[in-house]
């Protein structure tokens, strides 16, 4: 197998493995570039979030409470099974609005929970499914800050996609350069793109 042959195969197969991610980032970026969905839903009277719990909850909370450990107890009490969530303690301990905010990460049904510690009150909201939100959630998913193996693996996949994209671009440039007939047109395309981009950097 020659280098040229190998390069073409890498370019092709990389594109095929990462097909779903190309599509996700493409579709979701359209919705991000054309926002206004939330406003439209509001105008149509369709809620993005629906309250699923709003009741009293009295948990013993120490001053040095760990948000994640406390969140685990709140989730247990609400009967929500979740491994992928973030939790933050917000406000001052003596304030009435001192609360634990839990964000249950899910592509299909994310949940957000507010536990007002000094008011012994908890409320939970579940996102309604809309395709627009589904794509945007996938777009924003990533990072190694979550305390979850599943999320870490997704972050690795995002890294693989990015490295794959770089390899895909480089292998594409090699393929183009070896096609002697279109070198000129390719240079014009690349040059035009660069000029337009520099124009943006100077003009924006």
């Amino acid at each position: 197998m020659t280098f040229n042959h190998l390069n073409r195969r890498v370019h092709l197969y990389l594109g095929l493995i990462l097909l779903a991610w190309f599509a996700v980032y493409g579709v979701s970026s359209y919705y991000i570039n054309h926002p206004g969905f939330a406003q439209k839903m509001k105008q149509e009277g369709k809620p993005l979030w629906v309250t699923t719990a709003d009741r009293s909850l009295d948990l013993a909370v120490s001053e040095e409470a760990d948000p994640r450990e406390l969140a685990s107890r709140v989730l247990d009490d609400l009967g929500i099974e979740a491994d992928n969530y973030n939790a933050w303690l917000l406000g001052q301990q003596q304030d009435q609005n001192y609360r634990l905010f839990i964000n249950v990460i899910s592509v299909l049904k994310p949940i957000r929970i507010d536990y007002y510690i000094n008011q012994d009150k908890v409320s939970a909201e579940e996102a309604q499914f809309y395709w627009t939100q589904f794509w945007i959630r996938l777009h924003k998913l990533g990072g190694y800050q979550h305390d979850s193996l599943l999320m870490d693996v997704w972050a690795v996949i995002v890294d693989i996609f990015c490295l794959g994209m770089l390899v895909w671009v480089i292998s594409g440039i090699i393929i183009w350069w070896q096609m002697g007939k279109v070198r000129g047109w390719g240079l014009i395309s690349m040059g035009a793109g660069l000029v337009v981009f520099i124009g943006f950097m100077l003009g924006l």
């Binding site: 493995i17 190309f22 493409g26 599943l150 035009a192 793109g193 924006l204």
Partner: protein, 199 residues
């Protein structure tokens, strides 16, 4: 040239030239995505500003003038009109304008009492520039150049979808790669679908 071969050639050429044209956008989005994905491994991004000029605005504004009107007038006066955000600082009532220049973001502070006008520029930071460009989108500013940038983002969107479709077409044309291609495409899709339901 027969129809099928002509279509094949056209798809391949668009696939190629679109990539070459959009190269700067692809590099920016890819590198900035790596940065966003590794945010927890990187130091917190702090914007440091350097004072560019300290002057006095020669004009004045009537009391109750809308901050957006004041911001526009001040940017025109400084010759840096463009996409911006403004807000009045509660602590001292000064008007703070951020001129959203992707390369050198500026912070302009105007004191309505004494007419003081301080222009600061963000210290050069490649990370801040790339992240700023990644997050810049939409047709929300009233400047043609910003709408043009949003059009370029739409072009990237169209290109990503086109690469998926044309890539599938080109692959199917290579009979020798069909089998492994099906395995890899299915494998990638299976991982993706698993994640949609697992997360």
């Amino acid at each position: 040239m027969e129809g099928g071969r002509l279509l094949n050639l056209i798809l391949r050429r668009i696939h190629l030239f679109l990539t070459l044209f959009l190269l700067p956008w692809l590099l920016i989005y890819t590198v900035s995505t790596i940065m966003l994905n590794h945010n927890s491994h990187l130091p917190t991004l702090k914007h440091e500003f350097i004072v560019e000029s300290e002057t006095t605005y020669p004009g004045s504004f009537e009391e109750g003038t809308d901050p957006s009107v004041m911001a526009l007038e001040l940017l025109r006066h400084l010759g840096v009109e463009g996409a911006h955000q403004e807000n009045r600082r509660n602590s001292d009532g000064k008007l703070v304008i951020f001129r959203l220049d992707p390369v050198s973001l500026r912070r302009i502070t105007y004191g309505p009492d004494d007419g003081s006008l301080v222009v600061e520029r963000r210290k050069f930071s490649l990370r801040a520039i790339l992240l700023g460009l990644h997050l810049r989108s939409g047709y929300r500013h009233s400047y043609l150049i910003d709408d043009a940038w949003a059009v370029s983002v739409d072009l990237v969107v169209a290109a990503l979808i086109f690469w998926v479709i044309s890539g599938l077409w080109i692959w199917w044309e290579y009979k020798g790669t069909r089998r492994l291609g099906v395995i890899l495409t299915t494998g990638g899709l299976a991982v993706f679908i698993f994640y949609v339901f697992a997360i």
